[in-house]
Structures are given as structure tokens and as C-alpha cells.
């Protein structure tokens, strides 16, 4: 009797185990946080150097359209206007998401509503393979197939936002699809039965109930896809043309933040203005990625409140 009393009032092996386990997981998450913090610190300090050390005005950086960091303009100011790249990055990202979303939703609905068993069996590996193809390979296929195709169908050189969009479309498709599948699957089965029992067709059920309930999840999926597209470098660099020009259309060569960063970073020296300017581009990428994530969170919360 007293033994039990003692057991109950004192820590046991299980208590130690739990502390031990808790310790380990805290250590791991702490390590991950440390990694993130160090990389964020690194990029932020480098990226801000353009404005603090080189005294470039932030407004000029964001609104200027001339990118030539190694040269000075007539007034002796460095020419670093990142607007063309910002615009292009946004264009390819948004367009890629716009093109990919219907396909992703189609596939997701097929996998969840139309033919769950067969669909998952066939399409799950398809999605995983699309993820598995390296971006270098996407880039070269884009360069040797999509660019000539665009050139022949629309004229021009073939390089430009359209080519970038088409390559990115395939690259973000798996992300949007698999996240959409998750959110559609999360719609409770009884919504579907309720709708069908009221005499709705399958499409009416999908359209009016399933998609409507899954909207926050689907938006999240799209934003995650966009954030992937925004950060993709190698594949885009190969097909976008890398001309730092305000894009005039979908077919003229242009340059995204990542492509400029990848192209230029090896040819500049640490600590110089051209190098710092490139890090400022990286900082924009980082901030955008943050914005995308915050958006996802807000949408997620809204969606949660609804339910």
C-alpha cells in the first residue's frame, strides 16, 4: 500500500522518459529555429547594406527601372532600380498560378471526388514524379522545347514571361495539387451526403459545397504554389531571357529577381555595391516569401473561424 503511495507521489521512469523526449524535440526545433534565424540575419544584413552602407534610396531601388549596379548615372548615383525584376517576378508567379490552378483543381477533384481509388493510384505517383524532376532538367526542356515552340507560334525570340510561366506552371502544379487534395479531403463526408440527399448532382455538390468549404485550403495551396514559383531560379533563368527591361508583353525577354541573382552573384565581389544590390534582391525574395506565408496564415484562420 505504501509502495503504491510512494509510486504515485514520485517521478518514475516514465516521467524521465517524457522529460528526455521533450528535451530532444525542443532541442531539434531550437536547432531549426537557429538555422532560420541565422540565415534571415545573414540575408537581412547583406540586403540592407545597399541602403545603409551605399546610401541608395529605398524608393529609387523599388521604383527605378534602370539596373546597372556597376555604373553610375549622370548624377553620379548608382543605377539600381529593381522595378522591372519585381514586376516580372510577380507576373510569372501570378500567371503560373492562374494557369496551374484549374489543372491542379481538376486533378485534385478527380483524386477525391470522381475516382478516389483509381485516381489516387495513378495520379499520386504522377505528382511525386513531377516534384522529382530537377529544376535543371525543367530548364533545359524549357529551353529546347518551349522556347522554340513559342518562337514558332508567336514570333519573337521565344524568351520571356510566357516561357517562364509555362515552365513554372508545371513546377508548381504538384504543390497546388497535393495541398488542394488535402483540403478537399478535409471536407467532411456528411456535407456531401447532405447535398446529394437534397437532390444535387455530383457537380453541384462539388461546386456548391465541397469547393466552397475547401476554399481557404485551396487559396492556401495556390499561395504556397506562388511562393515556390517566386523562389525558383535555375529553370526560369534559362527561359526568361534575363534582360533587365520593363516587360512590354509576354514575349519580350525579361528578368526575374531570382534569375538576376543567380546570373550576377558569381561575377561580383563581396562587399561591393553590385554585390550588395543583389543581396537586396534576395531580401525582397525573403520578404515576399514572408508575405505569402502570412497570407496563408490569415486565410487559414478565417477558414477556421467559419467552421
Amino acid at each position: 500500500m505504501d509502495e503504491i503511495k510512494h509510486d504515485l507521489q514520485n517521478p518514475s521512469k516514465a516521467t524521465h522518459q517524457d522529460l528526455f523526449g521533450k528535451g530532444i524535440t525542443y532541442l531539434c526545433i531550437g536547432f531549426v529555429s537557429l538555422l532560420v534565424i541565422s540565415i534571415l540575419y545573414f540575408i537581412t544584413t547583406r540586403g540592407l547594406a545597399t541602403f545603409t552602407t551605399n546610401h541608395v534610396s529605398l524608393w529609387k531601388f523599388l521604383s527605378g527601372t534602370n539596373w546597372n549596379p556597376a555604373l553610375l548615372d549622370k548624377h553620379g548615383n548608382p543605377q539600381i532600380g529593381a522595378l522591372p525584376m519585381i514586376v516580372t517576378s510577380f507576373s510569372v508567379t501570378v500567371l503560373a498560378a492562374v494557369v496551374a490552378t484549374p489543372f491542379a483543381l481538376g486533378v485534385a477533384l478527380f483524386m477525391t471526388e470522381i475516382a478516389p481509388e483509381k485516381g489516387t493510384k495513378i495520379l499520386q505517383p504522377v505528382i511525386e514524379l513531377l516534384v522529382g524532376i530537377p529544376s535543371v532538367v525543367y530548364g533545359f526542356i524549357g529551353l529546347s522545347v518551349i522556347v522554340p515552340l513559342i518562337r514558332h507560334s508567336f514570333g519573337g525570340t521565344g524568351f520571356g514571361i510566357l516561357a517562364g510561366t509555362l515552365v513554372l506552371f508545371v513546377m508548381v502544379l504538384p504543390t497546388i495539387t497535393s495541398l488542394s487534395v488535402d483540403s478537399i479531403k478535409a471536407v467532411p463526408m456528411f456535407y456531401r451526403s447532405a447535398s446529394l440527399a437534397l437532390g444535387a448532382t455530383r457537380w453541384q455538390t462539388i461546386y456548391k459545397v465541397v469547393l466552397r468549404s475547401a476554399t481557404p485550403g485551396i487559396l492556401t495551396a495556390i499561395i504556397f504554389g506562388m511562393s515556390r514559383a517566386f523562389g525558383e531560379a535555375l529553370a526560369v533563368q534559362m527561359v526568361i531571357g534575363n534582360a533587365v527591361l520593363m516587360p512590354h508583353g509576354l514575349l519580350t525577354p525579361s528578368s526575374t529577381l531570382t534569375s538576376q541573382l543567380t546570373t550576377g552573384i558569381g561575377n561580383t565581389t563581396m562587399g561591393t555595391l553590385p554585390n550588395n544590390a543583389l543581396w537586396s534582391l534576395a531580401l525582397i525574395l525573403l520578404l515576399m516569401s514572408l508575405v505569402f506565408n502570412v497570407l496563408v496564415r490569415i486565410i487559414g484562420k478565417r477558414g477556421a473561424l467559419k467552421k
Binding site: 500500500m1 503504491i4 503511495k5 509510486d7 507521489q9
Partner: protein, 264 residues
């Protein structure tokens, strides 16, 4: 459907040796006051049934008894076990749960073999001897009246068992730990009648050696197996007495209405 007077209760003291008791137990989910002042005594080596309609708080109450509500709700009041209040911070909840074990409404065997379902927790508690483990497996499966059905398939996945078998495996799993008290949360409600009957038989046999507290929405089940029955309604314990009395001469209007099927 009328509102009842929750101040009028009929709760007896148990004249036998006690397994455990609660004093003024209250449960809050956030702002929601789910359980009001429940003070009940549970006899040793008897079956006590907790009955009441859905949402009456009987499951919530049961889950407090081995601190399974720790993470989801705030529990106030005393839970007395062996002269100690086990609802305090310095109590080792893992030890509590070794002595006060629980079977849930939905059968939840581990995704392991039948044998491992039983031995898993035993091994973690330091029993390494193979013979001892085998003995415990056989004993507990026999106690749960499952042995004959599975003795040749001990190394097959427990997920292949039928719902009723899986539930008896879950009971065996608890019994193997040789707990003091068994808590059962509607153990038969998800099962077919034949399986449910087998579970009842099992409980009747276990009664010899264990103190059993069972939540059920099936009044007939309670009347068949329980020695004492408590009636819960809207977060209050309104009546607690010998089972027979509850079902033949209830003292409280709400109990009477419930057992005669006026609601629920």
C-alpha cells in the same frame, strides 16, 4: 421536456470498502462548465454504472478519474485514491494510469500484432522475461474471453480483428497491466449485440478481481451488470444508488423520466 431542479439529489454513501471517490469534482472546457460538483464513492470489486443522455457529462466525469482530461479541460475538486488526492500537480499521472486503466468507446488496438498489443506496455514497465510475458498474454486474453478466438493468431495484426474482438483485446491490454480499477467508456456502444453480450460476460467475470466503473447509454446493460448506478443529467449527478433501486424506485423525477424513456 421540463427543466429539473438540480439542487434536489439523492446520492448514497457506499457501505463497502472503497476503490476511490471524488469530492466536488468540477470540469470546465474553457468557459463551459461541463460538470458541477460531483461527489461519488466507488466500491471495491464491484461494477458501477454511470448512465444518462448524450451530453450529460458522464464520459467527461469518467475521464477525470485517471486524469485523461488533463490536456483538454480544467478539473477542480478532489479525486481520492488510496487516501491521496490524485488531482494535484505533484502526482505522477503515468503511475495513476497504471493503477486506473481505461477502455474507450471506439476499439483502439495499436497497429501491432495481437501479442505486442498486450506486451508493449508491459515491456516498457520493465517486464522482460519471455515466459512471464507469454503468461500475461494468455492470462489477460483468457480474462477478456478472447483467448480461444485468437490463440493461434497471436502474431497477426490486431487491425484484422472484428470490432468486438478488438474491444476485448483492448480490455485484455488493460487487464494485463493488473490495474486496480478499470474505467470503461461506453465499451459496447459501437458493437453488434452478440459482441456486446460477450463484453458484458467478460465484465461480469472481471468483477471478481477488479473495481469497474462503466459509462453506458444502454440502461438495460446497466441494469444487467452493475451493482451501483449513478444518473447524470446536464452536468449534474442527480441520483446514485443500488442499481435495482434506481431502476425500480427512482427518487428523483429526472431519473424516473429518463429510465422510462421520456427523453434520451
Amino acid at each position: 421536456m421540463q427543466e429539473y431542479d438540480y439542487n434536489k439529489t439523492h446520492i448514497i454513501d457506499i457501505p463497502l470498502e472503497l476503490a476511490m471517490k471524488t469530492e466536488n469534482l468540477q470540469v470546465f472546457y474553457g468557459d463551459n462548465h461541463a460538470m458541477h460538483d460531483a461527489s461519488l464513492e466507488f466500491p471495491r470489486h464491484r461494477i458501477t454504472a454511470l448512465i444518462g443522455a448524450s451530453g450529460s457529462g458522464k464520459s467527461t466525469y469518467l475521464r477525470c478519474l485517471n486524469r485523461m482530461n488533463d490536456r483538454i479541460a480544467t478539473v477542480k475538486g478532489k479525486i481520492m485514491y488510496r487516501g491521496m488526492d490524485i488531482n494535484t500537480k505533484n502526482i505522477n499521472v503515468y503511475e495513476v494510469r497504471k493503477h486506473i486503466s481505461m477502455v474507450f468507446q471506439r476499439p483502439n488496438p495499436f497497429a501491432k500484432s495481437i501479442r505486442e498489443n498486450i506486451t508493449f506496455a508491459l515491456k516498457r514497465n520493465g517486464i522482460k522475461d519471455k515466459n512471464e510475458l507469454n503468461k500475461r498474454v494468455e492470462e489477460s486474453l483468457k480474462a477478456a474471453a478472447l483467448w480461444d478466438e485468437v490463440k493461434d493468431d497471436l502474431d497477426k495484426s490486431a487491425l484484422a480483428l472484428s470490432g468486438g474482438q478488438a474491444q476485448r483485446l483492448c480490455i485484455a491490454r488493460c487487464v494485463a497491466m493488473k490495474p486496480d480499477i478499470l474505467l470503461l467508456d461506453e465499451p459496447a456502444s459501437a458493437l453488434d449485440p452478440i459482441s456486446a453480450a460477450k463484453i458484458e460476460d467478460t465484465l461480469m467475470e472481471l468483477r471478481e478481481n477488479y473495481s469497474i466503473i462503466i459509462v453506458t447509454h444502454n440502461m438495460q446493460q446497466a441494469s444487467r451488470i452493475a451493482d451501483y448506478t449513478a444518473f447524470f443529467h446536464m452536468g449534474h449527478v442527480l441520483e446514485y444508488d443500488v442499481t435495482e433501486k434506481i431502476f425500480t424506485t427512482p427518487q428523483i423525477k429526472a431519473t424516473e423520466d429518463y429510465i422510462s424513456g421520456n427523453f434520451g
